[in-house]
Amino acid sequence: MKKRKKGFPILYIVLCFLFFYVPILVMMVFSFNSSRSLTRFEGFSLHWYEQLLADSEIMGAVSVSVSIAALATIISTVLGTLTAIGLSKTRRVLKEWLLNVNNLPIMNPDIVTAIGLMILFSSMKFDKGYMTMLLSHVLFCTPYVITSVYPKVRQFDDSLANAAMDLGASPFQTLIKVIVPCIKPGIFAGMLLAFTMSFDDFVVSYFVTGNGVQNISIIVYNMTKRTNPTINALSTIVIVVILVALLIGNVVPMLANKKKNGRLKEEER
């Protein structure tokens, strides 16, 4: 085989990465800028981080984002997992129909979901704010959980559930002690998806909130109207948090596997 030139593919990859990450890096660098300028770096300072921590409005938005994401993740994971398990036991026609319906909110443009929810909440005279935002987040997160849990449920061997009941486990104990451990990878994947979908949502949140309840995306959107490097500081923190979460999500299972394999090798010796 002819030896291919290696230069171009590497250059291509480097360009791609630059395109993806330079904007983020620039933003992170400028979050440490001592002046208000977004074009000239005039010296290192933590000024904008101090401002950020002192700004109760921003800190409020952070707590809204985090608590909504956490609650929406928990609720949609429970709902989605139970639905996926239920679906696997449903008659085929109904099951396929429901799975298709489940894909609708995923395919639907956010703006349509957002306007639909806004009209719904208005027409039902809901007091818009934290609760409506949480409900909406649960709504658009659950389909993602169902989609990632359902394949795992289908792989689940029913005889394991039978075995558990045979050994004296009630249906609920069987769910907790046997079914959930078996479909755990699907549940984790669903949780991760739900958390990120909720945490960085802007469109839906913007339309269904009210009474001054804002999450990070909304407050950042409002702040962009005036130059305010505090956004850079906030965004940097968010990126670091996500990076740490990703690292934990990827590295911990790897370490666990390594440990398990190591133990097995030890036993073989």
Binding site: M165, L167, G168, A169, C182
Partner: protein, 350 residues
């Protein structure tokens, strides 16, 4: 044979329909304490359905399921004093050997030290000492099998159900496990209900064999009875190899087939009743043609390892014979039968 105590499980007129298909057509069966009972039949005969009804995974459409005299047909599986060894073991892949075996006791919130003691005892009973921390998904088929047995027995059930537990093992290991299962059953002294389609397995392990076909019980008896005195053509055909010949019962102890009368030991048939006779291939003795009524020509001889399988063609039919002697193809031979070797059965309605 183990001595059997009282009747522990009683099936009375059990039927089971799946949609509009009837898979069990009225099963009556008594199962005793300390009995090794095998449900034997071809796939689709309903044997596994009976097991699932006893375990509680299926509810009978009609009939009663008595456990120590109490109807438990509607009691959920987790409230029955019955445990199951599943066909593909159904071990929990996320638990190690110890935790798999301890599962039932943990559910019952038994004291940790008691659990430890019982699990250890069970693991040594099935020969898995030192395997506590092993990952069950990395065990061999035979080892997984043992874990499944230990996991069921550690709960000290009154009855252990085994759903074709040996079918996934290779021939040699299967033989080994047959002996071991029998030994375990005698050691723990409880009722085993074993499902299989392998007649040799059934005959070599059981106290009682229940032969099933098409949702009905064909015969219940000891392995020797089932083999030597099959009640009908299906049982004779399914258990071992056989020559099945239509004939008439002249009177008690005298049967006529292929134009000749033979002495036999069967009684209680009507005079001249149409019957079927079972001749096991190993019971037919080959002699010189002048010494016998039944005469034929050897048309094939196949070496089977321990014996030769001969096909002898007579005027009426072909007989299958197993013999350890060598006979040439084409030779004319006579065949004689001991009266104990002629097994008369009722003719089956088709």
């Amino acid at each position: 044979m183990a001595d059997m105590g009282d009747c522990i499980i009683e099936l009375r007129g059990i039927t089971k329909n799946f949609d509009d298909q009837q898979v069990l057509r009225g099963i009556d069966l008594n199962i005793y304490e300390n009995q090794f009972l095998t449900l034997l039949g071809p796939s689709g005969c309903g044997k596994t359905t009976i097991l699932r009804i006893i375990a509680g995974f299926e509810e009978p459409s009609k009939g009663e399921l008595l456990f120590n005299g109490i109807d438990i047909a509607k009691v959920p599986p987790y409230k029955r004093e019955i445990n199951t060894v599943f066909q593909k073991y159904a071990l929990f892949p996320f638990l190690n050997v110890y935790d798999n075996v301890a599962f039932g006791l943990n559910i019952k919130k038994v004291d940790k030290s008691v659990i430890h003691q019982k699990v250890q005892k069970m693991l040594s009973l099935v020969g898995l000492d030192g395997f506590e921390k092993r990952d069950v998904t990395l065990l061999s088929g035979g080892q997984q099998q043992r874990v499944a047995i230990a996991r069921a027995l550690v709960n000290e059930p009154k009855v252990l159900l085994l759903d074709e537990p040996l079918s996934a093992l290779d021939a040699k290991l299967r033989k080994e496990m047959q002996g071991e299962l029998k030994k375990i059953q005698q050691e723990v002294g409880i009722t085993f209900i074993f499902v299989t389609h392998d007649q040799e397995e059934a005959l070599s392990m059981s106290d009682t064999v229940v032969v099933m076909n098409d949702g009905k019980i064909q015969q219940i008896g000891t392995p020797v009875d089932i083999y030597n005195e099959p009640e009908n053509r299906f049982v004779a055909d399914f258990i071992g190899e056989s020559n099945i010949i239509e004939g008439n019962m002249i009177r008690d102890c005298l049967v006529k087939f292929d134009g000749y009368e033979f002495e036999c030991v069967d009684k209680g048939f009507k005079e001249n009743e149409e019957i079927e006779v079972v001749l096991r291939p190993e019971d037919i003795e080959i002699v010189a043609p002048e010494q016998a009524n039944l005469v034929g020509e050897i048309i094939s001889s196949v070496f089977k390892g321990v014996h030769y399988e001969l096909i002898v063609k007579t005027a009426q039919r072909e007989y299958k014979i197993h013999t350890t002697d060598i006979h040439e193809v084409g030779k004319k031979v006579g065949m004689v039968l001991d009266k104990e070797d002629i097994h008369v059965m009722y003719k089956m309605d088709y």
